[in-house]
Amino acid sequence: MDDVLDVRDLRMRYGKTDVLNGVSFAAHCGEVLVLLGPNGAGKTTTIEILEGFRMRSAGEVSVLGADPARAGEAWRARTGVVLQSWRDHAKWQVRELLAHLGRYYAPYSTPSVTRPWDVDDLIETVGLTPHARQRVRSLSGGQRRRLDVAIGIVGRPELLFLDEPTAGFDPEARRDFHDVVHRLTDRQQTTILLTTHDLDEAERLADRILILVGGTIIADGSADELARAMSGQSEVRWSRDGQRFVHAAEDATAFVRELFRQYGESVEDLEVRRASLEDAYMALVRQAEHGVPRKLTAVVA
């Protein structure tokens, strides 16, 4: 099996409530997969089952070739989990903590992957070099989040889990975080599964987006593919003789060609806006929540 993640018909039930109703998806090596959905859609439950932190009710799950519910410490060493720090390890110095946590990974080095990540290089990668000797409790929110990422990747994971990593971030911390993730995927073949309800974030980071609503995946594809497949219409704006026009066109290119043929040089201020991921997402979620079952798969790997 080549897939790093393979989830089939995953179901989760708490008491009488079904949180996941048959979730299926896969991820191949090096892919950044974003699980997008409104609050309560089951994103966190899904990721916690894959992390091995939560028992599923039914379904088949394979993560790095093993069932996370039964996988051992050697499997654990190949995964990374980015947790949100709160007050933990407040008295530890940044470098001291990363060096300590890295030690556990040393026996799991392979010829191709040296574990753990060299601590000074790691601190540099997440941009904490000036704060290496600082105690964790004296870090700012954004610095703390970088430390969270550093802890998640100290063992050079083949698969990294991030559950709403930028919740509560200010815009600057968010951009810094996105930079770190890009650096991570550029430099090595880390597969990443990330949950968010932030569309902008999904669009920036994802190779592929899964939209989860009401415990079911309702769409699967790249941001572009989802936007295009969902809403074929583009918005065309232009002005002629000082008057403004707006038109929604199925085939914007053909429409504009026709526009120029008819009016030639009198067409001014032309703007063509393709449907955004946000439009697609809103439409999909609305459909799903109003009980219109529509499974949209933009791309089949």
Binding site: E48, Q84, D88, P107
Partner: protein
């Protein structure tokens, strides 16, 4: 490299780092010093009072008994409290997310708390030795007894603390009941006054728990043999001390892994997030 061995070594260094942090964090250090100071004040207060029926200083017996109380305070209360706190703040979840992390975490706690016990016992004994008279600390036998009572005491209390820490869900719900329990226990365990002056059923109750035996063991190590006259059976009862503390240690070491594993299995990011939100709202 054996992963378990690596994690065990990491745990030892973790314990040492945490212990050092405890001694260099003003709040933590002050808490230890305040408690020690409180005990010493009680000892000074009673040093000219006699143990009833003898001419021996009550303050001296209290000083020695308090060494036993220290083991229970740190081994059970601090251990339990740290476990509750660190489950709440996500330290434990981090340990769970790394290979063999729980082993390193727990071993670290054991080392850290053993260090705190040794520290508290040392400063109590050293300061106390200048304040009271009559300590029998001249012979190697005294120190040998002190060592095994201390070691066995830690084995009897640390797993118990871990079990209690796993059972409570938040620090707020744990702190009060645990301290209340300890206060009541200290009162019936002959720490501040000879147990033989209590009603018989309370004597029996006190003898069920490790605190009484830790106090007795410490007294047997550091007091003149004649003082055993005020103990139950007019004896230091070494064999019984060894037996009861061992029983607690075995029970704890059997129970703790089961309870800890069950607790650790339930930890997840959303639990920690929920607790954080609850804490922020308070």
């Amino acid at each position: 490299m054996n992963p378990t061995l690596v994690a065990a070594r990491a745990g030892l260094s973790r314990g040492w780092i945490e212990f050092r942090q405890t001694l260099t964090t003003p709040g933590d250090l002050i808490a230890i010093l305040l408690m020690t100071g409180g005990f010493l004040a009680a000892i000074i207060w009673t040093r000219y009072t006699h143990v009833p029926g003898t001419h021996f200083s009550l303050g001296t017996t209290m000083l020695v008994s308090v060494l036993g109380l220290n083991v229970v305070v740190y081994g059970v209360i601090t251990m339990g409290d740290l476990l509750v706190t660190e489950r709440e703040d996500g330290t434990l979840l981090r340990a769970k997310a790394i290979p063999n992390g729980m082993l390193g975490y727990l071993l670290g706690k054991v080392i850290n708390i053993s260090g705190q016990v040794a520290f508290a016992v040392a400063i109590t004994l050293v300061t106390g030795a200048f304040l009271v008279a009559g300590l029998a600390i001249g012979s190697p036998g005294s120190w040998l007894t002190l060592a095994w009572v201390l070691g066995l005491g830690l084995l009897a209390t640390l797993p118990l603390g871990a079990v209690l820490g796993s059972l409570f869900s938040s620090q707020r719900s744990a702190g009060g009941p645990m301290l209340l329990l300890l206060g009541g226990l200290a009162a019936i365990s002959g720490i501040f006054y000879p147990i033989t002056h209590l009603p018989v059923f309370l004597q029996w109750t006190g003898q069920v728990f490790p605190l009484y035996w830790l106090g007795l063991g410490m007294r047997s190590a550091l007091l003149p043999n004649a003082v055993a006259a005020v103990e139950i059976g007019h004896s230091w009862r070494h064999l019984a001390t060894f037996g009861v503390l061992s029983a607690w240690a075995i029970a704890g070491l059997v129970l703790a892994p089961v309870v800890l594993r069950r607790m650790a299995r339930r930890e997840s990011g959303s639990d920690v997030a929920a607790r954080r939100e609850k804490a922020m709202r308070r």
